[in-house]
Symmetry: C2
Amino acid sequence: MSKSTRENAILFLQQMTKVTLALKGYMRQKFKAHNVDITFEMLQVLRFLWEKESCNQQEIATAINKDKASLTYLLDNLGRRNLVLRTEDSQDRRNKIITLTQEGRELESLITPWLEEMYGLVAENVSAGDLATSLHTFETIYKNIQNKAE
Amino acid sequence: MSKSTRENAILFLQQMTKVTLALKGYMRQKFKAHNVDITFEMLQVLRFLWEKESCNQQEIATAINKDKASLTYLLDNLGRRNLVLRTEDSQDRRNKIITLTQEGRELESLITPWLEEMYGLVAENVSAGDLATSLHTFETIYKNIQNKAE
DNA sequence: GCTCAACAGTTAAATAACAAACTAATTTTA
DNA sequence: TAAAATTAGTTTGTTATTTAACTGTTGAGC
C-alpha cells in the first residue's frame, strides 16, 4: 500500500465518520425544530414500518442493521411514545408482531419530506457516476472485511 | 432528483452504515482475540495520543470528532485502565493535560499493525481513482449538509 | 414421541453519545 | 478594573449498542 493510498484510506474513514454524524445531526435538528420526540434510530424503525406495516422484531433488526437486543430496547422506547404496538404471534409464539399505532402512521406524512431532503443532501452536487463509484467502493470494502474476518 | 439517484442515495447510506459497523466489529474482534481491553472509541483517543503525546481534552475531542462530554467519559475509562493520566495545566487551570502512561505507550507497537490492516481493508481492491472519488463525494456531501444547516 | 438444535425475544452490565445546565478559570471590553 | 463573554471540563438524564446469559417456543431427526 503506497503512502498516499494509506493517507486516503485514513481520510476516507475520517470523512465517513463526519458525514454520518452530520446527517444524524441534521435529522436531530429537524426533529427538535418541529417538536418531534424521536431519535434517528427510532426513525429507522418507523421508516421500515411505513413500508411494511407488520412484522416481527428480527425482521426489522436485519433490515436496519441492528441486533435484536437493540430492537427490544428501541421498541420499548417507541411503545412508550405510543408509536408502535407489540402483540404476540398466535401462529408462532416466539414472535412478537410489531404494528404502527395511528400516531405512528400519522408521522409518515410529516417526516417523509425530511427524509427526502436527507437523500437530497447525499445526491446534491454529486454526479450519478461519482455516487455509483462510491457505492461500489463501499461494497468492495465491505467484501474485504467479510473475507478477512472469515 | 431522479428515482435511481434517490435509490442510490438510500443505498449509499445503507452501505456506509454497514461498512462502519463492519470495521468496528473487525477491530473489536482483534482486541478480543488478543485480550486487549479497549474499545474502538478508546483506540481513537490512543491513536491521537501516540502522535501527539500531550494535549488538553478539547484538542482530542476536536481531532476525533467527539464532544467534550464524551471525552470526559472516555478518559475516565482510559484512566481506569491505566492508559492515560490527567494533570492540571498550571499555565491555564481550565485545561487538563492528558498524557499516556507507560502502559498506554506500549500498546502502540501491538495495535499499530492492526490499524494498518484496517487501512488496508479500506484500500484493498479499490483503485486509487475510486478511493479519491469516494473521498471527494464525502466532502461534497459534508458541504451540502453544512450549507443546509446554515 | 423425545431429544436437541435453532430461533425469537428479554435482560443485565459495560460502554458510548448528546443536550443542557453547571463550575471554574481566563480573556475581552467597556 | 469591573462586568460580561468565552473557554475547558464535569455532571445529569435520556438514548443507543454490544456481549453474554437466559427463557420460551418450534421443528428436525432419530
